[in-house]
């Protein structure tokens, strides 16, 4: 906790005014520092929760910080990250057999779960090898990172204010 000692009187009031004016002037800088610190924490948290190996052939995404319209934002990008975050759901086409994929060049990855708990076979992106899946549930790395960051915000804010303003 910062302490300020002044002598009561005109001089003391001038000192206080000057102190608060300087404090006010520094607020935008402090706010920027808080924003950066939260974004960096969020980025780290997302890296922690985002899968590093492909899941059911879904390619891993990349995590970065970007300047958005309203400030910094942590971005999770990649062709398959929506499915990693929200799961595959009940989408796709119907044939579960690898022969069909090979013979007819079927281009689906997930089917509509019509095969129940038996799952289905698909071709891995990249390697092209056949694999089996029962569907991918939501991994929700963004949600997990958000919740972890949300919890940490008061601590980050206090730390930055302490660093910047003493």
């Amino acid at each position: 906790m910062k302490e300020l000692t002044v002598v009561l009187g005109e001089e003391g009031i001038r000192t206080l005014k000057s102190y608060f004016s300087a404090l006010q002037d520094s607020l935008p800088t402090v706010a920027d520092a808080v924003e950066s610190a939260i974004a960096e924490y969020g980025e780290q948290a997302l890296r922690e929760f985002a899968p590093t190996n492909d899941i059911d052939g879904n390619e891993v995404g990349s995590v970065s910080i970007e300047q958005g319209r309203d400030g910094l934002r942590v971005v999770y990008s990649g062709s398959d990250v929506a499915y990693i975050e929200f799961g595959t759901g009940y989408i796709g086409q119907n044939n579960p057999y690898p022969d069909e994929i090979v013979l007819n060049g079927a281009n689906w990855v997930y089917d509509v779960n019509e095969h129940g708990v038996n799952g289905w076979v698909y071709r891995r992106k990249g390697t092209g090898e056949l694999a089996h899946s029962r569907g991918m549930k939501p991994e929700a790395p963004v949600l997990k990172a958000f919740k972890k960051t949300e919890k940490e915000v008061p601590i980050i804010v206090a730390k930055v204010i302490h660093e910047k303003l003493g």
């Binding site: 929506a82 799961g87 009940y90 989408i91 689906w108 997930y110 779960n113 129940g116 929700a140 997990k144």
Partner: protein, 137 residues
């Protein structure tokens, strides 16, 4: 620990939708999907506060997946995307008014595998008092 999936499904079943819902169910069911369809899944259920060794507050997140194909709404042929959005309006009102949950995200996902199916994902969060069933935002 309290799981609200079945309760949410039961309540969503009582709502009025702009189209006739074919099915409302939990995720990864063995049943063949029929459209329009709503799928309810619990994404997160974590202890927020425990008293004397008993959980009191849980932080919960539910995901509602809405799937639809193009279909007639009244006499108008409506795209699956639009049908999903209309259903979402009813779902959203229900989750807010009945359960007191907060919608934290809404995403329309591209479906490269089956262009005839549209999917809209809604996520809701809340803090559930497992003793009183009160939901806090």
């Amino acid at each position: 620990m309290k799981n609200l999936v079945n309760t949410v499904i039961t309540q969503l079943d009582t709502l009025t939708y702009p189209v006739v819902m074919s099915v409302i169910r939990a995720s990864y069911s063995k049943a063949v999907p029929v459209y329009p369809m709503i799928v309810v899944e619990e994404i997160s259920n974590a202890t927020l506060m425990a008293l004397k060794g008993e959980e009191r507050l849980s932080s919960v997140v539910y995901q509602i997946d809405i799937f639809s194909k193009d279909m007639f709404v009244a006499t108008t042929l409506t795209s699956g995307v639009a049908v999903c959005r209309e259903i979402a309006t009813s779902v959203d009102a229900g989750l807010n008014s009945i359960f007191g949950m907060t919608r934290t995200s809404s995403a329309e996902l591209p479906d490269i595998n089956d262009a005839t199916v549209s999917r809209l994902v809604l996520r809701y969060s809340g803090i559930l008092d497992v003793k009183t069933d009160y939901m806090y935002r």
